[in-house]
Symmetry: C2
């Protein structure tokens, strides 16, 4: 069965924003769980070679999170806050601790397409074009696409 699994990753022409759009064969509620349940999140986020260890996770409005990706003997830590957690919308901050002064503001919405399909929209806002373009040229697309392929696998397996 063919499913639309292409991920669009686009730079806004007049704002320091990256927009990501991707369809999934899942309901909005399933995608919400994939992004808020720490055990599920750790199973799909990031590149294929990396494992993810959740250090802290409190997916409520006003809560926060921290996780560590480990690959090839290296560790990469990330932390952020859950500014708003609603069934249809997540607003989070995001810092890669290798650049501890950098921070992005992420808004994520789950668009119900019906028939058990959902379009995920992510808008990631940076405080400079340099930071935004540095993220775009970092190879982030590899990790994003690999992660969503793993998430597709969890959906197909009925894990969500």
């Amino acid at each position: 069965m063919s499913t639309a699994t292409e991920t669009a990753i686009e730079a806004d022409p007049r704002l320091p924003i990256i927009r990501i759009t991707r369809e999934f064969a899942a309901t909005p509620g399933q995608l919400f769980r994939a992004h808020t349940d720490p055990a599920l999140f750790a199973r799909w986020v990031g590149p294929d070679a990396a494992g993810t260890r959740i250090e802290h996770w409190d997916a409520r409005t006003g809560g926060s999170w921290r996780y560590v990706d480990h690959a090839d003997g290296e560790e990469y830590a990330f932390h952020g806050s859950f500014h708003d957690v609603r069934e249809d919308r997540l607003v989070q901050t995001f810092t890669f601790e290798g650049f501890p002064d950098a921070v992005a503001l992420e808004e994520m919405t789950f668009e119900d397409l019906g028939d058990g399909r959902t379009r995920l929209h992510i808008q990631s806002l940076f405080n400079s074009y340099e930071a935004r373009d540095g993220m775009l040229s970092s190879g982030m697309d590899v990790g994003v696409n690999a992660g969503y392929a793993k998430l597709d696998g969890l959906i197909e397996a009925g894990t969500l």
Copy 2:
């Protein structure tokens, strides 16, 4: 005694950012306390006519806050997260609950000028120019200037 109490409130020409700069006759540590101690914060933030009731306050990296301003029988609620809390830098999210889908990302630094003086820098990032310009034209300068005048008063009184 004359002190430099002019507040600069400026729109960035190429980013959806408001920058606020203001000097205080206080040390960086005193300004940090003024922004992280809830009892102190409630005494100076906002317009003269408003009182502030802190509903929730956890000024640590990964913590969050919520407060309610009350004036003329009306209440205005705000909430956000403390993404990073360091002695020289605060990074927070900010939502006025009257516009619950709007969110700004604030970065605040305390520049030590020596001789017990500090320059406060605030950078407030929005996800659109319309949201940024709406904030600028909302009369925010009245509340900002009134709040900082009250903070000057707390500093002069030795409260910090």
